[in-house]
Structures are given as C-alpha cells and as structure tokens.
Amino acid sequence: MKNFDKIVEDGLRMEPDFKLGLDFKDRVSKLIRSRERISQRKFYLLIVLGMVGIVGAGLGVVLYFADLQAFASLGQIVPLAVLVGALVAGIQYLDKKLVKDKMFKQLA
C-alpha cells in the first residue's frame, strides 16, 4: 500500500529544474553598479544644468536691469569669496573623511 501523503509531499519538496547561471550574481551586481553610475551622472548633469541656469538667469537680470557701475567695486570682495569657497570645500572634505567614512565603517 502506497503512502500517498508522502508521495505528494516529496513531490512538493522537489526543486524546480530551473537554475540560474553561475555568473548570475556577477551580472546582476555589474548591472546594479552601471545603473547607479548612470543615475549619478544624470544627477550631476541636473546640478550642473541648474547652476548654469541660475548663473545665466542672474547674469541676464543684471545685464538687463542693473546699472553696471553699481558693480564696479565687486572686484574687491573676490579674495573673500574665494576664501569662503575654500573653507566650505574644506569642511565638506573633513566631514566626509572624518565623520561619514567612520560612520559607514562602524555600520559595516
């Protein structure tokens, strides 16, 4: 007398014949990385376009409406602007190296 419960359960526990290729994980991880690179490039491109748009709009407004003589003394604050820019970039760099990298290492 056959044990049909066992036969059915054995059948249900059989793996499907389908197997993913040996290089499946390599292909998927490459695909994920390439998608990430593309979306990162798109993001940078949007930032650049946004900055160009803002600067262009600003220049347009200045050239169209403003009295250029009013900006004659602007050259005096260029060193200060460069210094502030360098300071902000430095803080960003130190934040990445000393805080964020450590944070990710701790998480890992």
């Binding site: 056959k2 054995d10 197997k19 499946f24």
Partner: protein
C-alpha cells in the same frame, strides 16, 4: 558575517557583499519565480529584476523580520504581478481541469512525485507560491502570512486543499495504472 553586517556592508557600496547577498538568496528567488513563470528567459529576467528591487529597497529594511522573509515578500509580489500582467492565471482553483498524462513511465514513488510537480504547475500562481514557501523553503505559517499578506486561515486552507486535490489525482492515477497492469 551575519544579516545586519551583510546589509550594512552592501549599503556602504561594497560590491563583494552585494554578490554574497545575491548568492545567498538566489536559490529562494529562483524557486519562487520558476514555479510561476514558464519560460527560462523570462525567469532569469524576473530574478534579475527582483534583485535590483531588493537592492533599491534595502535601505528601508529595518530587521523587523528575517532578511529571507523580506526578500521572499518582494519575490512573491513581483512573481504575482508578472503572472497577472502575462495573464498566466486564467482559471481558479475550483475549476481547474488537470491535464493528466495517459500513463507515467512507471508508478514508482519517485515517478509519482515527479508527476506531482507536473500537477503543481497547473495550479493558480498563489497556490504554487504558498506550496513552495511551505514545503520547499520551509517557511512557517506566520512567515508565509507576512510574505503573502494573506490571513493565516487562507494560507492553511490553500495548503490543505491543494495537497488533498493532488493526493486524490495521484491515487486515481495509481489505481488506473494498477488496473492496466
């Protein structure tokens, strides 16, 4: 490396950890997808899409369940959606007319078990997935409830009805084989 370490390392951008994660769970995803999708090319593509979705959503996983349960949840939803989109489920459980071959090569237990697999292929996707999660992957009732979003009673009902129906067909088939001999 435990689950938490693995997830954190993948999130930090480590490609090796990502490969480990895929390697660890590709069998689970492949089993679920293979039960629902008949074509090998579609199967491979859907498995790929499941892992891309897992990677994209990994930062929303907060260890409220086991990682395997969370991954199975994504695979379940994507497999069911694929079946709906491709109209693979045209019949409901009660109106299935099983295509039973005239004769198996023999009625040894192993051949009958293979015959069961062929019958399972004819079940609606949700039944196939619940059976796979329970019998092949060894998930518990509460885990299957979480994965499928079905009430526990429905999960138990699916398992009970499917197993009974398969058993009846196998019994009838074996009886006919004996009569023929």
């Amino acid at each position: 490396m435990d689950e938490k370490q693995l997830v954190a390392t993948v999130l930090s951008g480590d490609e090796g950890a990502l490969r480990i994660l895929i390697g660890k769970y590709e069998r689970l995803v492949a089993h679920m997808v293979a039960r629902v999708v008949p074509d090998d090319m579609d199967r491979e593509e859907l498995c790929q899409d499941v892992f891309i979705k897992i990677y994209e959503k990994l930062n929303t996983f907060h260890f409220d369940s086991k990682l395997s349960t969370w991954i199975a949840t994504i695979a379940f939803r994507m497999a069911v959606n694929f079946a709906k989109k491709k109209r693979l489920d045209q019949v409901d459980f009660d109106s299935i007319e099983f295509q039973v071959p005239d004769s198996t090569r023999s009625f040894e237990d192993e051949d009958l078990s293979r015959f069961v697999v062929k019958l399972v292929d004819q079940l609606p996707s949700s039944y196939k997935l619940v059976l796979t999660l329970f019998y092949l992957e060894g998930f518990s009732y509460p885990e299957i409830v979480e994965i499928t979003g079905m009430p526990e009673g429905t999960v138990k009902n699916y398992l009970h009805r499917a197993k009974n129906k398969l058993k009846i067909i196998i019994e009838e088939h074996a009886r006919k084989e004996v009569e023929l001999v």
